[in-house]
């Protein structure tokens, strides 16, 4: 076998191939119910799903639910990120704290966020605060761990230099800690944003707080199958938007960073 030349597909042809894949998947899901492999009552063809999505998108209820979901997601994420940044910087910069908290973090982190669902139901019922409890708990850990790691990653020589020049605490954070930790923080932000969306939808679905998740549950209960699939598709599209958005943010804010420059140069 001759060595395959490292051919790099151009972005345009990659996008074309990707679109081909999407169309192919849509075709498969169009055909499965049409040839009777699965009853269309349970799995409507792609076109029916898209039509239902179109119908949903013209109703006000859909947009209200969408705003509710985004509201819970954004608020929960903001609280989690603020907490994660403050605690992460504190824990990451003091070695003793890092050692002392490691075991606690290891214990608390694997507690499934969904275990809090009954607690949220009892304490807050079907309110925004229930969503927030789950979203904040779940999305706090990725950002916290990334911040701790990022702050701990500061170059010792640079740190000594800052010490020798008697940087003020503020200058140390601004010129030493932040540039090092930024790439970690942004990765944590992206991870947390995705987790927060998952938990927002989960809370709405399981507890019944207003939002797209609740609408999915309602559609299921009233066996409005195409509408249910349409809503799930809509949630997926929001997820893609969140991922793409945060990745773009990362690229923008880290334009000076070696990892991004290397990728761009390729």
């Amino acid at each position: 076998m001759s060595r395959p030349a490292p051919r790099r597909a151009s972005p345009a042809s990659r996008a074309g191939l990707g679109a081909l894949g999407l169309v192919g998947a849509a075709a498969v899901f169009e055909l499965i119910p049409r040839i009777g492999l699965v009853s269309p009552r349970y799995l409507p063809p792609t076109t029916a799903m898209l039509a239902a999505l179109g119908r949903e998108a013209t109703g006000a209820a859909f947009w209200r639910a969408l705003l509710d979901t985004i509201h819970g997601w954004a608020l929960g994420l903001a609280i989690a990120v603020a907490l994660g940044l403050v605690l992460g910087v504190a824990i990451g910069s003091v070695r003793g704290l890092r050692v002392a908290t490691a075991s606690t973090i290891e214990f608390l982190r694997p507690i499934p966020s969904v275990a809090l669902i009954p607690v949220a139901v009892l304490l807050y019922g079907a309110q925004l605060r229930s969503t927030l409890l789950l979203v904040v708990y779940a999305s706090f850990w990725p950002i916290l761990l990334q911040v701790i790691q990022g702050v701990g990653d500061v170059d010792p020589v640079a740190r000594d230099t800052a010490l020798a020049y008697r940087f003020t605490p503020w200058a140390t954070i601004r010129y030493l800690v932040l540039p090092t930790a930024l790439s970690y923080i942004l990765t944590g932000l992206r991870l947390s944003a995705a987790v927060a969306l998952i938990l927002a939808i989960t809370a709405e679905l399981m507890i019944g707080t207003p939002g797209l998740g609740k609408e999915i549950g309602v559609a299921m209960a009233s066996s409005a199958v195409p509408a249910m699939y349409a809503l799930i598709l809509a949630v997926g599209l929001i997820g893609v938007a969140v991922n793409v958005g945060f990745r773009a943010l990362e690229r923008r804010m880290l334009a000076w960073h070696t990892s991004v420059r290397l990728e761009a140069a390729r």
């Binding site: 679109a19 699965v38 002392a100 507690i111 249910m228 893609v240």
Partner: protein, 258 residues
């Protein structure tokens, strides 16, 4: 010996303090929803020893089965996708879309298609836990050392042997990372799938307690989930130390040389 003791104190100090804090803060609690910790602990043993075979073991079995399925599928699909850039370009946007759907939102779909039995629960776990394994496998296979790949070609190592000694071995650090992330996702989805529609399992039991207002029992279930998560992550760490011992050793020597 004293170093070990000191380390132990450091590791255990904060958890012990937090536990004590919970104990003291909740001691005089008259809130119906936040019972004193001693009461939660008092019901822990009786509650879960009675439900061990009916709830705890079935849940754990489903969790492990679903997790195993996710790992096998994730690695099985990740290897060809990682090795073939064109294939990857074709399926990437589709995967991106499916991945962005929160797995709990798929529970209604699986219930519709497969009923509320064990297959539905396993599928829910697989559908969520597969992503970290799949994506990390793809990355790991893409990043297989080129010199090693050339060496394999020179020695005529192909087929299954190449897969075992080069591709899977080379990608294993990433695969294990993905497996670690998948484990916590699998626990979450195990609970969710049981909370939805079930007559057995940990998630079902906790929701059942909540609906019956057996609050200390509910809290004990939450504690049990925490312990389960923690225990599994400990087991995983032992597995990782054994499976990736060569890799951590390699990194240590490299760092020593540098």
């Amino acid at each position: 010996m004293t170093a070990v003791a000191r380390r132990l104190v450091r590791v255990l100090a904060l958890p012990a303090a937090l536990f004590a804090l919970w104990w003291i803060a909740s001691a005089g609690s008259t809130s119906f929803y936040l019972p004193p910790l001693p009461r939660i602990l008092a019901v822990f043993g009786p509650t879960w020893s009675a439900r061990l075979t009916s709830d705890v073991l079935p849940s754990t079995a489903r969790l492990l089965l679903g997790y195993a399925g996710a790992v096998v599928l994730g690695v099985g699909l990740g290897v060809p996708l990682g090795a073939r850039p064109r294939l990857r370009a074709v399926v990437e946007p589709t995967l991106e879309l499916v991945r962005a759907i929160p797995p709990p939102a798929l529970v209604p779909v699986f219930m519709l298609l497969f009923g509320i039995g064990t297959p539905m629960k396993l599928l829910v776990i697989v559908s969520g836990a597969i992503w970290p394994v799949l994506l990390n496998t793809i990355d790991g296979v893409r990043a297989v050392d080129e010199v090693l790949a050339d060496t394999c070609r020179c020695y005529g190592i192909t087929g299954a042997r190449r897969l075992r000694v080069l591709v899977l071995r080379g990608a294993s650090p990433q695969i294990v990372t993905g497996m670690r992330q998948a484990l916590s996702i699998a626990i979450i989805l195990m609970v969710i799938s049981e909370m939805f529609a079930s007559s057995s399992g940990l998630g079902y039991a906790i929701v059942d307690f909540q609906r019956g207002f057996s609050i200390p029992e509910m809290w004990s279930g939450i504690l049990l989930l925490g312990v389960l998560g923690f225990a599994l992550s400990l087991v995983f760490r032992v597995f990782e130390a054994r499976a990736l011992g060569w890799y951590h050793g390699l990194r240590r020597t490299r760092r020593g040389d540098a």
